[in-house]
């Protein structure tokens, strides 16, 4: 399957690039646009970006691996982010993360995002989601869930179709 960027997306990206005095400054915006469209950043997407901005692929690869927000594998249909930072940690988010992983057959000790075999869920243990006052919190795709008890989490999971 060859990598093609649809015309309208490319036009949008060109517009993004034109906002910056130096082309390479647009690299994060370009990557976001590509991830929004494709769901993840493939090696082809990295090479395409490098070419677009007159960079070497290694320069873009450095960024993609630096920021956890860029996915280097396609994610599951439901992306679950559980907060691991202080307030949530004190409120039991580590236990919550462990239970959710176990329920989905994932390894809670593994570093980085993990996707279930059926490609349905991706679970990630992330830093502060900026809702510390309602800890522990988790997000499923764009939806934020607050004061998440284990039972509530499992209920949310079961509602994912």
């Amino acid at each position: 399957m060859s990598f093609t960027v649809p015309q309208d997306l490319e036009a949008r990206i060109d517009e993004l690039v034109s906002r910056y005095p130096v082309k390479r400054s647009a690299v994060l915006m370009v990557l976001h646009a590509l991830q929004e469209h494709f769901g993840w950043i493939s090696q082809e997407a990295i090479e395409w970006t490098a070419k677009k901005l007159g960079l070497q692929p290694i320069n873009v690869f450095e960024l993609v691996t630096f920021y956890p927000m860029f996915r280097q594998q396609p994610a599951g249909r439901y992306q679950i982010k559980i907060c691991r930072t202080l307030s949530c940690a004190l409120a039991g988010s580590h236990e919550l993360h462990k239970r959710i992983c176990e329920k989905l057959g994932l390894d809670p000790t593994k570093h980085g995002p993990q996707t279930t075999k059926d490609g349905k869920f991706t679970v990630e243990f992330v830093e502060c989601l900026a809702s510390c006052h309602t800890a522990p919190v988790m997000m499923v795709n764009e939806q934020l869930y607050e004061r998440v008890e284990q039972a509530k989490a499992f209920e949310v999971l079961s509602q994912c179709g």
Binding site: Q43, Q56, P57, I58, N59, F61, E62, T65, F66, P68
Partner: protein, 561 residues
């Protein structure tokens, strides 16, 4: 060819303003501007000022020939500047000295410019504590590899740990493990656990070579140097990163695990793979060469050399090296062979001898041959050897001493122009004796049928070839690593190389036996050491006049050609 001697290859730098600073209480004067990594004038840094004061500031990421990165923090120092009153005039102490305000924060010496009256402190308890702290962090995930690490003995992490570090680790947590023995390229093996992420390798290949091949991926303690997936670190300068790497992260595939560096002897020499004549150090033990490394000479190669030149030494240790003096198929002694040759040459009619001497022979050897040439009225030439040049160091002329061949008169300005004439001289029977030094002439228009017409084929070489197989007199010679001498590089710089190892069997330095032979044929006795020989040559050849072996030093002297 008009020739004048110059001592400096670059014009003297313009006068720059001097400022006074204090390093650990001692006042020194430094220029306000000093050359940066590209040689352009830039504000003098605290690190440069400390160096000028003879004070070492430990550092990892800083390298004088690379852009400053300021990431390792090893060079942190304390400093103070003169306090200024509301009138912008210095506030004075009661004793009349300017009042110094110590900065509450330390600064990295490699990237902080000095200012007039600044005081730099490198030996305070705070500086010691900072160095200890930096080292402790660097060692957190560092493996205990020293006993099996190639860098041991020349590792800045080892050295600074001894000088400034702690004797025991306080780290009880689990170490992060990263990839080991990664093939970054065909000549480079990388150990990510040993890397201290100073980015010297990245900056070198990006900013010096122009091949942006390396980068740092991931974050925090997972940071790793890598190439882009599916690509390799494979430019002709990649091995310089092994020298640059302050630790044992980047190792040479060729030298890896071969020898402990402290067993090796270092001999200053010159690379022979092209006319640039990069200055090198030959690292040997016993009679074996283990590696070449570049020897810094800003007039020639800076601190770098190319990978091809660096690895082009394996042939010196080959088993099939010529080891015996052979006359008409019989092994004999040097004395017998040289006597017979002298007799023969003395009686050779003028115009019946030709000399083909490689532009890989030293100045001294070519000069001795030119004396024979003059005496015998011989024809002579060298063999041109051309290839590709690049923007950094590699010269298109693959002979290390084409200019030596020209200046001694062995070759004309265009090497090889006489080879055709020599071939036809042999074909029409005029040339009866051919002296060949260091070339397989069968590959250069003098085929076996021509060689068969000669009365005498006198050959000196290092490795066997079609010419040596046909020689009536075969005189085994030496690689440059096995003798001393000098070359004249493409820019006209006369540079000397010294003997690192012994030649095999009966092989002898060509200058030694040529000297004997020439004295027998031409007369005179002269000196037996290379230094005397060089000085004698310098008196004889206008281009070299006023040069002496001693004055060449380790950096050479450039002639204006």
């Amino acid at each position: 060819m008009s020739v004048a001697r110059t001592t400096e290859s670059k014009p003297a730098p313009p006068e720059v303003e001097k400022i006074r600073v204090k390093v650990n209480g001692r006042e020194i004067e430094v220029p306000r501007l000093m050359p940066d990594w590209q040689g352009k004038l830039a504000p003098t840094t605290m690190l440069q000022a400390c160096e000028a004061a003879g004070v070492t500031v430990p550092h990892y990421c800083y390298h004088p020939k690379l852009p400053v990165a300021g990431n390792c923090r090893m060079c942190l120092v304390e400093f103070g500047t003169p306090a200024l009153g509301p009138d912008r005039k210095p506030i004075l102490n009661p004793d009349g000295t300017p009042k110094i305000v110590k900065s509450p924060r330390p600064a990295i010496a490699c990237a902080t410019p000095v200012s007039p009256g600044m005081e730099i402190y490198t030996n305070t308890p705070t500086v010691k504590a900072m160095r200890q702290g930096v080292l402790e962090f660097l060692l957190i995930n560092h493996p205990l590899d020293c006993p099996i690490c190639d860098q041991a003995g020349e590792c800045k992490l080892q050295e600074y740990s001894v000088d400034y570090g702690q004797s025991t680790s306080r780290f009880v947590e689990a170490k992060v493990h990263k990839p080991k023995a990664v093939q970054l390229g065909p000549r480079i093996v990388f150990d990510a656990e040993r890397c201290i992420l100073c980015t010297r390798c990245i900056r070198f290949t990006r900013d010096i070579v122009g091949d942006d091949a390396l980068g740092i991926i991931n974050r925090g303690s997972y940071n790793t140097i890598t190439t882009y997936p599916g690509t390799f670190f494979d430019n002709n300068y990649s091995l310089n990163t092994v020298d640059l790497c302050p630790v044992g992260a980047l190792t040479s595939k060729d030298f890896r695990f071969q020898m402990r560096v402290w067993f090796l002897k270092e001999t200053p020499s010159i690379c022979t793979s092209c006319a640039t004549g990069c200055n090198i150090t030959i690292w040997s033990r016993g009679n074996k060469i283990y590696r070449y490394t570049p020897r810094e000479n800003d007039a020639v190669n800076g601190p770098w050399m190319c990978d091809y030149g660096r690895l082009n030494f394996k042939w010196i240790g080959r088993d099939d090296r010529l080891k015996d003096v052979i006359v008409r198929g019989q092994k004999t002694t040097w004395a017998a062979a040289l006597n017979e040759l002298a007799d023969r040459l003395k009686h050779a009619p003028a115009g019946s001898v030709a000399i083909i001497a490689s532009a890989r022979q030293s100045n001294e050897e070519l000069w001795l041959l030119s004396k024979l040439k003059a005496r015998l009225g011989a024809f002579s030439d060298s063999v041109p050897r051309t290839g590709e040049a690049d923007k950094l160091l590699v010269n298109a002329d693959k002979n290390p001493n084409s200019n030596g061949a020209r200046l001694t008169g062995i070759a004309g300005s265009e090497l090889g122009a006489n080879l055709g004439g020599i071939a036809s001289g042999i074909a029409n029977g005029k040339i009866k004796t051919l002296i060949v030094f260091g070339e397989d002439v069968t590959k250069h228009g003098l085929g076996p049928d021509l060689l068969a017409r000669l009365d005498a084929l006198i050959v000196s070489d290092i490795l066997p070839n079609e010419t040596t197989r046909r020689a009536h007199y075969l005189l085994p010679g030496c690689a440059h690593a096995e003798k001393s001498g000098s070359f004249t590089n493409a820019a006209g710089r006369v540079q000397r190389f010294l003997k690192a190892i012994e030649p095999p069997g009966d092989a002898r330095p060509e200058w030694e036996f040529l000297h004997e032979l020439v004295n027998n044929v031409v007369g005179g006795n002269g000196a037996r050491s290379i230094a005397h020989l060089f000085d004698e040559m310098a008196r004889d050849i206008p281009a070299f006049r006023s040069l002496t072996w001693a004055a060449l030093g380790d950096r050479g002297v450039e002639l204006k050609i």
